[in-house]
């Protein structure tokens, strides 16, 4: 079933994406609203490689290279944006990243090589559901291990209290930049997977609205919760599709139902479904 496969595939890509943003927003507490920009950079740069300069090797190897390119190019953007912006805090950081995300998209829009506003076509179909879930699994594993290491503890300490963290010996700038860069890079990987499963890219996929959608996935599950991000990605990808089947008025109004659900969730449970905890974890104690 191609359609269900497509939804499953998007779920996998969004798991990677929401985890990558969770590293920045949820773990490190740095509010980024430009994540779709990194997603787009990874998607476009990996597709430029596979469309224009693929290596004369089997497709899977090319795909691996594409993933690496997606990671590196987005991570590089992350560094370039992170170095000046991470001095900012809270709302200001959010606004600056929003601005950068939009600038990245405007640059893509004005690049003739990648089709500009028409969209980027003829991207080879080199990734599939196995790639997507292999990567998603690796990212989940990565995040779980990171969370339980000195790196993760330092990053979470920054979220909890920057000043205390710094006075306990955590180099704020280094760890903020680390999570921002790695988060951007992972979004780039998600972008590469997206490009090579959809075979078509359009700048409208990488607007501010999509940054918000990814953010909502993170917040829905709970900032800083890995299982929360997974649940968020699953739920928010599937809901709009389920509403398609509701038929009649509901299907027609489905786009207004999504924001209402969002508002209701925030009113009822502002910390998200899991808070900062993990699934089956209570009061910090692992079961």
């Amino acid at each position: 079933m191609d359609y269900y496969l497509q939804i499953l595939l998007l779920v996998g890509i969004f798991i990677t994406l929401s985890l990558s943003l969770n590293l920045i927003n949820g773990f490190c507490g740095q509010f980024s609203l430009g994540h779709a920009g990194f997603w787009g950079v990874g998607a476009y740069s990996s597709a430029i490689f596979t469309v224009f300069h693929p290596l004369g090797l089997p497709a899977p190897i090319n795909m691996l290279v594409a993933l690496v390119i997606g990671f590196l190019s987005s991570a590089m953007c992350g560094i370039v944006i992170g170095v000046p912006c991470l001095r900012l805090r809270g709302d200001y950081l959010a606004i600056a990243t929003l601005g950068f995300g939009e600038i990245l998209r405007i640059i893509i829009m004005n690049t003739e090589l990648v089709g500009g506003p028409r969209g980027f076509i003829n991207i080879p179909h080199w990734a599939n559901i196995f790639w997507v879930y292999a990567i998603a699994t690796l990212v989940v594993l990565f995040m779980l291990r990171l969370k339980k290491s000195a790196y993760g503890r330092a990053i979470i300490a920054i979220r909890e209290d920057e000043i205390a963290a710094e006075n306990m010996g955590v180099n704020l700038f280094y760890y903020k930049l680390f999570s921002f860069t790695v988060g951007a890079g992972l979004a780039g990987i998600a972008g590469a997977l997206f490009a090579h499963t959809q075979q078509f890219l359009h700048p409208s996929n990488f607007t501010f609205t999509w940054s918000v959608v990814i953010l909502v996935m993170v917040i829905f599950g709970g900032m800083g919760s890995i299982s929360g991000s997974i649940i968020g990605a699953i739920f928010l990808t599937i809901i709009p599709e389920v509403l398609r089947f509701a038929g009649g008025t509901i299907a027609e109004w489905r786009m207004t139902i999504f924001p209402i659900l969002l508002i209701v969730l925030m009113l009822a449970r502002p910390e998200g479904v899991f808070g900062t905890r993990e699934f089956l974890e209570k009061n910090g104690k692992q079961i």
């Binding site: 290491s149 790196y151 330092a154 300490a157 000043i163 006075n167 306990m168 180099n171």
Partner: protein
């Protein structure tokens, strides 16, 4: 009053815009000192701590720690050099467990790299095991080991203060700065705290400087007292000397002399 000089402030002045919070302060702390900084509200005590820990760099003057000039050194590096502190308004990592609060403080002492932590190699596992054991040992000293898996925010107030001290000690400092450790404590708790501070100094062999309003506590434990008023260091000396200092009495007149 023996041992070598650990911390030295030379003519330190801190200004915020037009406001001078600390003015031309000179003081020295030796190894194993147990000192207190006192003074009325707004005298610049906390600002002095913030300057020592690198949060607000001094506008003028020089801070030297253990022979290092702290000019342009980041807070995190100062922590690594061996200064740890607690905060006036408790700054724990609230949504982390008690154990994780302690483990985080061991941050600068960790040697394994990023790849080790993702691959979970032998180096990582051994070091994490050691850190956990050390942390639990430390918590045991504070009688909190059974609470190691509780979230910090769920601890009672007094234990939050204790945890903050434990966390500061976990960085393995040479100098511990305590910002109003007795604030909000009842007399029994304050008494325990007095013992605890003595214990810390003797067990860890470090210097301690505290900011405190509770004069009974200060007079009981401080071997050296510095008095700040409007950013100026108006007196220093032993408890006896301070109690008889005219300028100090003037500064405190009618307000916080009940403990003397």
């Amino acid at each position: 009053m023996s041992g070598k000089t650990l911390l030295k402030l030379d003519n330190v002045t801190v200004k915020f815009g037009g406001l001078t919070a600390v003015s031309d302060v000179c003081l020295e702390i030796q190894e194993r000192d147990l000192a207190a900084i006192i003074g009325p509200n707004g005298a610049g005590k906390t600002t002095l701590f913030n300057t020592i820990t690198g949060i607000y760099p001094p506008t003028l003057g020089k801070v030297t720690f253990n022979g290092f000039d702290l000019k342009n050194i980041k807070s995190s590096d100062i922590a690594e050099l061996g200064i740890a502190r607690t905060f006036q308004n408790i700054r724990l990592f609230k949504n982390s467990t008690v154990l994780d609060n302690i483990r985080l403080a061991k941050h600068t002492r960790i040697r394994y790299g990023f790849l080790s932590s993702i691959l979970r190699d032998k180096e990582f596992l051994e070091e994490e095991k050691r850190i956990k054991e050390d942390s639990l040992k430390l918590l045991k000293l504070f009688n909190m080991e059974d609470k190691s898996e509780m979230l910090a925010k769920n601890l009672p107030y007094g234990e939050q203060r204790k945890l903050e001290m434990a966390r500061a000690l976990a960085t393995e400092p040479k100098l511990l700065l305590l910002d109003e450790p007795a604030a909000g404590m009842n007399p029994t708790e304050t008494k325990e705290l007095t013992e605890l501070i003595h214990f810390i100094r003797d067990h860890f062999n470090i210097a301690i400087v505290l900011i405190e309003h509770d004069m009974r506590l200060v007079m009981e434990i401080a071997e050296k007292i510095f008095v700040l008023d409007y950013g100026n260091l108006i007196a220093k000396g032993s408890a006896k000397e301070i109690q008889n200092d005219k300028r100090v009495i003037e500064a405190y007149l009618g307000s916080e002399i009940e403990g003397i």
